[in-house]
């Protein structure tokens, strides 16, 4: 049962992955439109990706805690 719970705890990674893809798409669109602003866009994108990624990381940590207790 704990293994199942650990697997379920990884579900947020799905959402995080999907919407990280969306964020990259938006950034690429913006760079294609304004190539000269690519530096600023990239740093903003990286901060945003780090924040979104943290959700996936939290779920990974929770899954690991559940899995290592089992």
């Amino acid at each position: 049962m704990t293994a199942l719970a650990a697997a379920l705890a990884l579900l947020p990674a799905l959402g995080a992955g999907m919407f990280m893809g969306l964020a990259v798409k938006g950034a690429l669109d913006a760079i294609a439109r304004q190539p000269e602003a690519s530096g600023k866009i990239t740093s903003a994108l990286l901060i945003g990706l780090a924040l979104v990624e943290s959700i996936a990381i939290y779920s990974l940590i929770i899954a690991l805690i559940l899995a290592s207790k089992a």
């Binding site: 740093s43 990286l46 901060i47 780090a50 990624e53 943290s54 990381i57 939290y58 990974l60 940590i61 690991l64 805690i65 290592s68």
Partner: protein, 295 residues
């Protein structure tokens, strides 16, 4: 030593030798055909040599090929005995990293730096100046000139520390950054600096006023979100490094002898590029939070 292993050894050795022989024996006239032949025989040699080495390692170490199992994974590192004290292995590694960095810094300061020539820089001086200038420009660009002066030194040390810790994985040690306590200590320093610069720049009353800025109702929320900063920073770095560690462990553990070149190739990303990205993210977030508090 089983029969499939021996057959595999023989067949892969035969094909590897065949590929090498073909490379030297065939001499096509066409330049395009020659290029294609060279590429094909090179790929063939690498693949069969890899299979040969993997099978040989499996036979020598008595492992049974691909197992797809991660044996004995622990969330926290194992503990070692240091003068009768039970200490986490990562803590010992962290002290080693700090010692190496300190020795290097001392050598740098007292042996190399006096020899630097301001008029005609060369060699290591160029590299140093480039690195420090890049970090300085980056820090000043994020938090402004008033805080940049002192923060640059801390940020540079932080970058060296995180990268140095991550690189210990290349020496077969568990990286200290994949220990929650190590990352949490760094995140606590960020939390301290955030409050220090916030109070230094705006005084205590200004800082409290900024926390309650749109309306006093939001004050507990803002305090809570400030307290979440070290937790989120620590968990992010820890989770990322642990993820890399698990992937590398899985590769080495499940492929057995066949991980011979694979883990080296994967390590380029998981042990070098990935820690670099995470260092960058940690630094950017630290500077962003400090800037937010001091503004």
């Amino acid at each position: 030593m089983s029969i499939p292993n021996i057959v595999g050894l023989g067949v892969s050795a035969f094909f590897a030798v065949l590929c090498v022989a073909l490379r030297f024996a065939l001499k096509p006239e066409d330049a395009k055909k020659k290029k294609r032949k060279n590429r094909l025989t090179l790929v063939g040699t690498v693949i069969f040599a890899w299979y040969f080495v993997g099978t040989l390692l499996n036979i020598l170490s008595g492992r049974s090929g691909i197992t797809l199992a991660l044996d004995g994974f622990e969330m926290f590192s194992d503990r070692v005995d240091v003068f009768g004290l039970s200490v986490a292995r990562t803590t010992v590694v962290v002290y080693a990293v700090v010692a190496v960095c300190a020795v290097f810094a001392l050598i740098f300061r007292f042996v190399l730096a006096p020899r630097f020539d301001a008029d005609s820089p060369s060699g290591i001086q160029n590299i140093t100046e480039y690195a420090i200038e890049a970090v300085d420009k980056f820090v000043r660009g994020t938090v402004g000139d008033s805080l940049g002066e002192n923060l640059t030194a801390y940020i540079f040390a932080l970058a060296v520390y995180i990268m140095g810790s991550a690189l210990t994985e290349l020496f077969g040690q568990r990286a200290p950054t994949s220990d929650l306590l190590v990352t949490f200590s760094m995140a606590l320093i960020t939390f301290f600096l955030l409050n220090y610069y916030g109070i230094k720049k705006k005084k205590l009353s200004g800082r409290l006023k900024a926390l309650a800025s749109p309306s006093p109702v939001i004050f507990p929320m803002r305090v809570l979100s400030d307290c979440a900063v070290p937790v989120s920073l620590a968990c992010r770095l820890f989770g990322n490094m642990l993820g890399g560690l698990i992937v590398m462990d899985l590769l080495k553990g499940s492929l057995g002898g066949y991980s011979a070149g694979v883990s080296a190739a994967a390590g380029l990303y998981f042990n070098i590029a990935h820690p670099l990205i995470q260092t960058y993210v940690f630094i950017v977030l630290t500077l962003t939070f400090i800037n937010e508090a001091a503004e």
